[in-house]
């Protein structure tokens, strides 16, 4: 694994993505998701909302890095808030 040049932050990042996917799978088996319409202009399943959430979080992080000098953790906190909002009401 040395050739992959792991660092702690990236390892934690992938670990959390992995855990999210495992968690979502378990959740899906426990109670299958149904398409529904929230504040987003399209019908989405839980997995769709997760994808939209993760992708938009990536853009939130990029925007913070490119446009501001604020610490990246601020973007992460905002993303988590945004994602929970999206998963619940999206």
């Amino acid at each position: 694994m040395a050739w992959m040049s792991w660092t702690l932050p990236t390892a934690l990042f992938f670990l959390s993505i992995f855990l999210i996917l495992v968690g979502m799978t378990a959740w899906q088996i426990a109670s299958p998701s149904v398409e529904r319409k929230g504040f987003l202009p399209l019908e989405t399943t839980r997995g769709d909302r997760l994808f939209i959430g993760l992708l938009s979080s990536a853009y939130i992080h990029l925007a913070f890095v490119a446009l501001t000098e604020v610490h990246i953790a601020v973007a992460t906190v905002l993303s988590v808030i945004w994602m929970s909002f999206l998963m619940r009401w999206g």
């Binding site: 040049s5 792991w6 990236t10 399209l42 992708l55 490119a66 990246i72």
Partner: protein, 288 residues
């Protein structure tokens, strides 16, 4: 809606998952790791956090390349999709003519990217190329090596020549899949040629067009070899697209960290645009 769930089928997908893991997921993870470090050699590496991302996203050269990339992709989509449909509609459907037309249309698809670049590089030259000489003959001082407009025209024309056949073949197969009864019904209703196209052929082509648009968008967004051979990104930087900037950075200057950060931003852009395309087209279908 009750769906029968049989999770055993997932085991059959495992080989694909393994291949994708080795060919895409692990390399992508490595790129993510590289993007946050300054790596001199495997032993000497420093964590730099988001520095490369900041550098890449505030780089005006890359903004230019990104803008040109979008203009290029949307230009060729706007030309290739309607043109491909038109070609498919005009292709003969029966007899020897049909096979001949299929082969003729498919020929550009068989030519490797860099050869296409070379062909057009010669084809467009004013002294020995047919196209360049013809343009000069018409009194247009055509020179793709010095005039940015001409360089753009040549690159777009080259892509249209190379890839319209793909759209045409997809549409052709889509058209062949329409049952004859639809046309009979249309004839009974005395539908015009336009009505047949608008209400029978186009709706039935939606699925192949989704694939066509996505493939052409992704491919053109990653275009590298053809403009590299044809214009080398010039004159100046007028035809330097994203992948060429990336290669210059990653291989030319060996700045792996910034190149990795750039790759990830590039990847996110493609992912977002494809998702938007896919969702829009899927929802258009649902509304019907």
């Amino acid at each position: 809606m009750n769906k029968v769930e049989n999770n055993k089928a997932w085991f059959l997908v495992l080989p694909v998952f393994a291949i994708v893991a080795f060919s895409a997921i692990i390399p992508l993870m490595t790129v993510v790791n590289y993007s946050v470090q300054d790596i001199f050699d495997p032993q000497t590496r420093y964590f730099v956090g988001t520095e490369w991302f900041k550098m890449v996203m505030t780089d005006s050269d890359l903004h230019g390349a990104l803008l040109r990339q979008f203009i290029f992709s949307f230009t060729i989509l706007a030309i290739e999709i309607p043109l491909g449909i038109a070609v498919a509609l005009m292709m003969p459907t029966k007899g020897r003519g049909a096979s001949l037309a299929l082969i003729l249309v498919a020929i550009p698809l068989l030519i490797p990217w860099n050869v296409v670049g070379t062909i057009w590089q010669i084809f467009g030259r004013g002294d020995i190329g047919l196209f360049g000489a013809a343009m000069n003959g018409l009194g247009i001082d055509y020179n793709y090596a010095s005039n940015p407009m001409h360089a753009w025209l040549t690159v777009v024309l080259m892509d249209v020549w190379h890839w319209t056949p793909l759209v045409a073949l997809l549409c052709y197969s889509g058209l062949r899949a329409i049952p004859e009864v639809y046309y009979q019904a249309a004839r009974i209703d005395r539908a015009s040629r336009w009505a047949v196209f608008r209400y029978i052929q186009l709706p039935k082509l939606t699925n192949v067009l989704i694939i066509g648009v996505l493939l052409r968008f992704m491919d053109s967004f990653m275009i590298y070899a053809e403009p590299f051979v044809l214009t080398g990104g010039g004159p100046g930087t007028s035809t330097t697209f994203l992948s060429q900037s990336l290669v210059t950075q990653a291989i030319g200057q060996f700045d792996l960290g910034p190149a990795a950060a750039f790759s990830l931003v590039y990847f996110l852009i493609i992912l977002a645009v494809c998702w938007v395309f896919y969702t829009t087209i899927m929802n258009m279908q649902k509304d019907k």
